[in-house]
Symmetry: C3
Subunit: 475 residues, 3 copies
């Protein structure tokens, strides 16, 4: 059994000794700052009820499509990877038990060498679960038992870890019609001091290509349309629900769209298009136009109600239909494609790009837009911020490429700060740790190349790690 | 007040001590070579009349959209940044005075950490203006006074700096109907030894989407059409004006186009299209076809008259209409987009790609085309040269990415040499200094990795810094 | 005459001394492993007959369009570069003699500094031909004589070099109607122990845009259509010829297509489209649909017969028509363009992406798809493997960019292993040497940054160099 490299204090730092020494010093200045997580997918109810975590496989393997996808690529069917992944519709075979899933995972562990997921997992195993050695197929049962034991400890409940992890703010992602009862309960609980904020995520109500769109719209209008019907009721209801989220602490509205297209329609045209879509007589193009128009409307409402607008485009969701049919969404086959922001986002920016206090955070899975489009946009429009490297790009080398691509044009002040975007609660410290080490590494190189003074780097590392997310997300 | 890092002799060099030492040696071999600037935007009249520079803000802040854009992004309205930037159409408030603009700039100075503009400014402050310390909000008045004092010194006039900067050739960018009186006066002045060359830039006469196109065409035909009218007069006039530029020392014709599309139309079709466009009955598509055809014509004329053809595509100009309406063009919101050269440039290359002595320098703001398209094109066609990293890409990391992307396919012989492309006269030495340091850094890495011998690197550094621009621009 | 840097044992390794030392150690573990070359363009007949190599120019210059293209770019007409390159249709001037071509090449040698071709050539000169010094214009005759002398040595025949080079498997690329007599003869020869495998390459039979397509289809049906005619005979014949290839040792079918488009047509639609195309009444769009459908069919057949499917898209072949007219294909002007895999490959992956034992290796000349599309696809679909960096990207920096772009998403297990893709037999060791050094360099950095343990790196370097190509190509 080999010693885990997760313990190495210089992990992720550049090899050159001089640069490494600068990086160490910069990391020391931010290591103990609280975690601010303005966008992610943890379930607020888990914090509300302080629900114990399930077993190792159900916590760390089965629900994490970053993990199951690579094991699947190696030839293991998803049904062998556990409850969530392994519930094909109509399947009669029982889901495998947790220990079996864990053994499958440990056998597959070498696949994760060099990956971002491997880094996060190794660091969780070491720092959160206290494993001193690398996991392996041979020691699968031992690591299963060790983690299981940890999960039974009283200090290993969500609220205790929230504190241990030094989390200050954690945003969740929520359906617009969610009553936010968990968020309210947490906020009113005098024994809990973290901030758990909802995020308004209206995709299913804005995109006519969603098979449930029309039913969702019915529910939306019925719930919050102020008695109005049609497009007017729909717009009123969205504004009302946003206000409800703001009252419950939300700071942002998030949009997972296929492309960043935006479009301004006048009220009459929008209303007629809405009616046509509701009647089922509309084309796919009509649906795209409507969604683009609704992105414009969401920006308009953000200018009104102050919610930071975040856009996550460019993923072809559920690429493999048979897998989607059997296992549902979020099972590892969302595949990025090329995105163009410059023309697509222009209609929105024409009217709101310089609007007072409007914040628009633009994400991408297509790295080419970082230097070509996003840095120039964020370097002019006061509203536009560069979203942190997201999903496949939330990884050491990719984060360094991001900083290299955008900084020379947009400096350090136009970035969102780190976004962990995770549903894996126990991975949060490892993710923020990786991000801080990479920020320190990038800045250390600039210092070593005499492009930034050591004195200024001391300020910048705090700015990118701590001040940026507070400023950009109005925290 | 902290010491400026601009004084560090190792700035921009790689951190690894062995590689750095090689880079130092390479830099020593080119540090004192004259500056050759074959493309830029300095006003020839300033050299002709040896016009004193204005105050610090009017020299270094207000007219520089690289600088104002990032301050604008931080929330400062353009009208607070001075005369050029700050003259919204119909504004009644007086433009802010220079000292106020300078204070605004000094307050915003931290925004420029890590940016290319920050590097150039810091080096100007140190090397040109003699400031020993970093500028800051607290010392804004002191730095204003120090620079102002410098600007009053007799040695600080354009012609004296031209000599101090060791500039050998400086190309300007000029309207085709410009009489080039300043260039003539400079050339005939026995007391001035630099070469100041005009560049033929006919965009406004070639692109029917320009609202002034038809009026420009009228003026063009009237001025130089040899009495002919219509398309024939237009083509004759362009050829005549190019000849006039050649007679006044021009070595290149520059083309700022939206895309690199080229198209060969036969004479009759072109003439009919021209007439249709002039009649106002044509579509946007017609205009694009015509402009693409005119790029083909410009190449044909370059084969005839020897002017090097340079193409700068891929920028969405004036992205934010309200800002354009208020402040005009070149105010910081030209945003790049994806470009494809392979198919677009093919009609031109079919006929002129191997034409004797034809030089075609291709620029891009979309880095993806460097390895994918431009290096392969330049690695086959004797006419095609890789334009230096331009605009947002004229920055240390981006320049290293460029060399890494193109060299393995096209070697060192197919690049244009450095292009500063600037209207900021006092920034010219800092820009060339940065470029030379990056060339030295890239070559030093190849030497350290035993990919190029030290002996050959000594030749290559001189070739890329000095021989390339002379060869490519026929100087 | 300067000493060749090809002798340096640290060539291509990173400059940082600590990282270099790790790279050295990793390289030591794979230096002597046999060469596995699962895709390339060597002629099997040369191995069968153990044909002596021709003179230096005919071996190393004239037939290599990687070499002639850059000399051509410098202004040397192709006809001065020898028999293959220099045979313009209808030319009356005799082709230049080999010594003259060699002198031209030696004069042009400095153009290759920093290029991949330069690296391979320099290493051949040193390791294969025993030249101790850099070649140069001044020593052209001496190097010509030295290499010529080597070529006459009995140990310098293809079969002897095959052994000296430590080649275990060498795949060729073959026409589907080739009788594979050379492969059979080699396989049956008890005196030769290497494996020389054919590869099924049916482009000319699948792409209706090929002027010879219909004639090729006639020949295909006549040769192997089982007596059937039309689409049914065509499909049967392709399946039969694939089986013939499998029986002669083929492990893969290779597809050089313009785009990676795939399409599933039902049998009736496909048959009618085939008939329309054969009648000459079809449009270009019809041809593209048909080729896309045939890619789907090829995948289906691969699932049946086990041939690994490799796809090489994204090159605009024969970009300069006049050069193509004079000298034919493969003369240096195939230019890449932007490619999108995510949507294009989906129809094929819907049905075969998770098919048992199906292997699909995806190549690209457009680097942007590595992180954006290929790594996510290979990180989910068990069939999909990342093709090694190809053609212009088969170069040290580009290979490092590839590893950086894909590893964090897909790890090390989803890559094809190195593909030399060459027709230049003598360059094979240099190419594999470069690839192994770069793999060692990349892994060494991960070790130095504590992202991979030294112990695991020892396994990974063997896996990527040796196990990956065996596994992916079923060797």
């Amino acid at each position: 059994m080999s010693q885990s490299i997760a313990a190495n204090p210089d992990r992720l730092f550049p090899a050159d000794p001089g640069t490494r020494s600068i990086a160490r010093d910069l990391m020391d200045r931010v290591r103990d700052l609280p975690i601010i997580s303005p966008h992610g997918h943890v379930d607020a109810a888990v914090i509300e009820h302080n629900t114990p975590f399930p077993d190792p496989a159900a916590l760390l393997v089965s629900p994490d499509h970053y993990v199951t996808r690579l094991i699947h690529a190696s030839g293991v069917p998803l049904e062998r990877l556990g409850p969530k992944a392994g519930a094909p519709a109509g399947a009669e075979a029982p889901a495998p038990d947790s220990r079996t899933v864990w053994r499958e995972f440990c056998k597959a562990w070498p696949l994760f060498e060099g990956t971002a997921s491997g880094y996060w997992l190794r660091n969780q195993f070491h720092s959160v679960f206290g494993l001193q050695h690398e996991i392996s197929a041979e020691t699968a049962d031992a690591s299963y038992d060790a983690i299981s034991a940890k999960l039974l400890e009283p200090g290993f409940r969500p609220r205790e870890l929230f504190k241990d992890f030094n989390i200050e703010v954690l945003a969740t992602t929520d359906d617009p019609l969610d009553d936010l009862a968990s968020h309210r309960a947490i906020a009113q609980d005098p024994t809990f001091h973290g901030r758990v904020l909802p995020t308004f995520r209206p995709d299913a109500y804005l995109n006519p290509a969603n098979p449930l769109w029309s039913a969702n719209v019915d529910r939306m209008i019925a719930a919050a349309g102020d008695g109005a019907s049609g497009y007017a009721g729909y717009i009123a209801a969205l504004a009302n629900r946003r206000r409800y989220f703001v009252e419950h602490g939300a700071v942002s509205a998030d949009h997972g769209v296929r492309t960043p297209a935006t479009l301004k329609l006048d009220g009459g045209d929008a209303s007629r298009l809405f009616d046509r879509l509701r009647s089922g007589q509309a084309s796919g193009h009509d649906g795209e136009q409507f969604e683009a128009h609704m992105m414009y409307q969401m920006a308009r409402m953000s200018v009104d109600d102050g919610l930071v607008m975040t856009i996550h485009p460019g993923s072809f969701r559920n690429h493999h239909q048979p897998t989607f049919n059997a296992f549902g969404a979020d099972t590892g086959h969302d595949i990025p494609f090329a995105v163009n922001y410059t023309e697509a986002i222009r209609p929105l920016l024409q009217d709101f790009g310089t609007a007072k206090d409007f914040h628009l955070v633009l994400f991408t899975l297509d790295e080419t837009v970082f230097s070509r489009e996003l840095a120039p946009l964020a370097g002019f429009y006061p509203s536009v911020y560069l979203g942190a490297p997201w999903w496949f790009l939330d990884a050491p080398d990719a984060m360094l490429r991001f900083r290299s691509a955008v900084t020379e044009t947009a400096g350090f002040s136009r970035s969102s700060g780190f976004i962990d975007d995770t549903r894996a609660f126990c991975s949060i410290p490892a993710r923020h740790d990786a991000s801080r080490r990479i920020e320190a590494s990038f800045l250390a190189r600039l210092v070593a190349e005499h492009r930034v003074s050591e004195e200024r780097a001391h300020e910048l590392i705090v700015d990118v790690v701590d001040s940026s997310p507070r400023r950009v997300f109005k925290l």
